[in-house]
């Protein structure tokens, strides 16, 4: 049973199609990271979910209720904005209290002068104050409670924004790049905190980011959106190890995956150096395909006979790893290899090496970007097929 599901969400701005039928299910307690390059529609999707934009088509179901016609104020969906969007004239405590005041007090009780005369107002306000205090304490911002946003640091503002979103115990929690305004150190620290808050709150969370490291490290499942379509929704490991689309493979992974244009051989297999791959689907000879391999599965062979000859163009030393940019002698393509420092010692620009690729780590993508399930053939089988 999913706590939140989106079905076929469409959205266009004039002639520009931003969302092309996005469907997504989030379970109770699930943390989903929505990741993609800027302009892929992830923020629009989030705003539609929050009720700040209306979709052209599709359903948003929370619990058993279709929320599409419900205005944002009545959706019980909380959102943390990229800029935090704190009210600058209110103190931290007042900011956190806003959602409670709007929900728990009637329109008359909220009015200045008249409000205090309404029955029950004092009790309701006392309750709100208590909840705000508890929330501030749990976020460890009790000492900031009387400060205005202008007098707080970025990290403190972010906590107040989180407090404001969580204080009303929403049914769904949305976050729009909440860490992008923090400096690098704080960002890594805040990742852990947000995951911890999510675990405590226990509501489905959709977290939008363009930072793949955030997505992979925080989420239960990662949704990769590119060009208005949801290309893959899977656990971080599956997204990385088993991308279903060439764009997903390209977007996730640092340094980027190596991609080579190729085509199916006369026997319907795909050849890459001395490796032959057979696709589960029969490929007609000459079909263009793309072959991909992640940099860590490229091994550098210094003086052996195996592998494709290449020349080292650039060496990047990153401490725990070494990134090698090599140019293949045969086709002139650049191949990125990721090595451990031990493997990489002594390698220098201009050296000739041979590159070996892990056969079972090669991906084959069709021309439309879809992944073609494939498996390597052992050398003799390959030879046999070629002859027969």
């Amino acid at each position: 049973m999913s706590a939140l599901s989106l079905r076929g969400i469409h959205k266009s701005f004039s002639a520009n199609q931003i969302l092309k039928g996005v469907s997504l299910d989030a379970g109770e307690n699930e943390f989903i990271a929505l990741v993609g390059p800027s302009g892929c529609g992830k923020s629009t999707l989030l705003r539609i979910l929050a009720g700040l934009e209306s979709a052209d088509g599709g359903e948003i179901v929370v619990g058993d209720r279709d929320l599409s016609p419900v205005p944002a104020a009545d959706r019980n969906i909380a959102m943390v904005f990229q800029s935090y969007a704190l009210y600058p004239h209110l103190t931290a405590a007042q900011n956190i209290a806003v959602p409670l005041v709007m929900r728990n007090l009637t329109r008359l009780q909220r009015l200045p002068l008249v409000g205090p005369l309404m029955p029950g107002q004092r009790k309701a306000i006392a309750n709100i104050k208590r909840e705000v205090r508890d929330m501030a304490a749990s976020l460890k911002i009790d000492h900031l409670i009387d400060r205005k946003p202008g007098q707080m640091s970025g990290g403190q503002r972010q906590r107040v924004a989180l407090g404001r979103a969580m204080v009303r115990r929403p049914a769904v929690f949305l976050m729009d790049e909440p860490l992008s305004n923090l400096d690098a150190n704080l960002r890594v620290h805040a990742r852990g905190e947000i995951v911890e808050l999510h675990r405590r709150a226990g509501v489905p969370t959709i977290y939008v980011t363009h930072d793949q490291a955030e997505a992979l490290s925080m989420a239960d499942r990662v949704a990769v959106m590119i060009g208005g379509s949801l290309l893959q929704l899977a656990s971080p490991q599956v997204i990385y190890d088993d991308p279903q689309h060439v764009e997903v493979a390209k977007f996730i992974g640092q340094p980027r995956i190596n991609l080579f244009a190729s085509q199916a051989a006369p026997d319907g297999t795909v050849a890459f150096g001395d490796i032959r791959l057979r696709s589960a689907e029969k490929l007609t000879p000459g079909t263009p395909v793309t072959i991909g391999i992640r940099p860590e599965f490229v091994a550098v062979n210094r003086n052996g006979q195996h592998g494709l000859p290449a020349r080292i163009d650039r060496v990047e030393f990153l401490g725990s790893e070494i990134i090698l940019y090599c140019r293949l002698d045969a086709i002139g393509e650049t191949v990125i290899a990721k090595l451990s420092p031990a493997e990489g010692t002594g390698l220098a620009v201009g050296m000739s090496v041979r590159l070996e690729f892990a056969p079972d780590r090669l991906f084959v993508f069709a021309e439309n970007g879809r992944r073609l399930p494939s498996f390597p053939m052992s050398a003799d089988v390959a030879l046999e097929t070629a002859n027969g």
Binding site: G51, L52, D74, I77, A78, M79, L86, Y87, P88, R103
Partner: protein
């Protein structure tokens, strides 16, 4: 200014200032000289002259003058015309400033929420500001004419007998106020529009998500507080402009009928340029200036603390 630049705080006592520091300080003064000279020539000296003249009985065309101390001011207290014009100015300001501020705010929000025609409305409402009030006064005279004027013709359609807007002593201030509002709404509106566009959209999104259901809730939560600095400025400008009302009075009513539309600036003008009693007019001007300064001071003291949030 120059002193701030010239004195580095971390170095020893001021008595041991090096030659370089003295030189820098001299350059600083030299560079600020043009501004200082202009400030004195065009602002401080004229004000001082007016204050000095207010203690004399100087009249234009006479060669000598006598110091009369506070006689002019003592006279003002008992002068019925002056007291009348003070009261009229107060009433006029009390009508024009708030009405033009809130009308401009309302219109600005309507225009802001409407995607199309924004620049058309902005221009249309700004026209009265750009037009010459003296010229437009003729049009208003026609509009307000008790028998052939369209305003009263409209009222007659609703079976209301319109008053003689500019000719009856009990209505003339209201007639002038309407023209005053007409003239200043456009200016305030443009300022409010600028203030509205500066409000981050995300704050409204946050207000929606936080449960601000009605437009009024969002206005109270976001628009009104975020417009604080703009409102402060608009209020200041509106009050000053209302207190300075002159053209309409001079061209349409000449302070009449029966001094019912005597306002401060008009009275000063009469004393100084018609009766040529410069000393007496100067005393009025000083009172006028003091009123403005007090108003501005109060406004900034009361509002400034509440509208700047950083």
């Amino acid at each position: 200014m120059a002193e701030v630049i010239a004195i580095p705080s971390s170095f020893g006592k001021a008595t041991t200032r090096s030659a370089a520091e003295r030189h820098e300080s001299r350059t600083g003064w030299l560079l600020s000289m043009p501004a200082i000279v202009l400030l004195f020539m065009f602002i401080l000296v004229p004000v001082a002259a007016v204050i000095l003249m207010s203690f004399t009985d100087y009249e234009l065309g006479y060669t000598g003058f006598k110091w009369v101390g506070f006689d002019n001011y003592a006279d003002l207290v008992t002068n019925r015309t002056f007291r009348r014009s003070l009261w009229n100015t107060t009433v006029y300001t009390a009508i024009v400033a708030p009405v033009s501020i809130f009308m401009a705010l309302g219109l600005a929000m309507l225009i802001e929420s409407e995607g199309i025609g924004r620049s058309f409305f902005r221009t249309a409402y700004f026209l009265p500001v750009a037009s010459l009030l003296v010229a437009m006064a003729t049009v208003w005279q026609y509009l307000f004419h008790p028998t052939i004027g369209p305003v009263n013709a409209l009222l007659r359609l609703a079976d209301i007998e319109g008053p003689n807007w500019l000719g009856a002593s009990s209505y003339v201030l209201y007639g002038l106020s309407i023209i005053g509002v007409w003239q200043s709404v456009g200016f305030n509106l443009v300022l409010f529009l600028a203030g509205l566009t500066a409000i981050p959209r995300e704050l409204y999104a946050a207000a929606h998500v936080d449960g601000a259901r009605s437009a009024f809730d969002r206005f109270r939560l976001v628009t009104w507080p975020m417009l604080g600095p703009t409102t402060l400025f608009v209020t200041t400008i509106s009050v000053i402009n209302a207190v300075k009302v002159f053209e309409t009075v001079k061209t349409l009513t000449e302070g009449g009928p029966n001094k019912a539309s005597e306002v401060l600036l008009f009275t000063i003008y009469q004393e100084g340029f018609v009766y040529l009693r410069v000393g007496y007019a100067s005393a009025m001007t000083v009172v006028f200036l003091i009123i403005l300064v007090i108003l501005m001071f109060l406004q900034y003291r009361i509002q400034d603390r509440q509208v700047h949030y950083t």
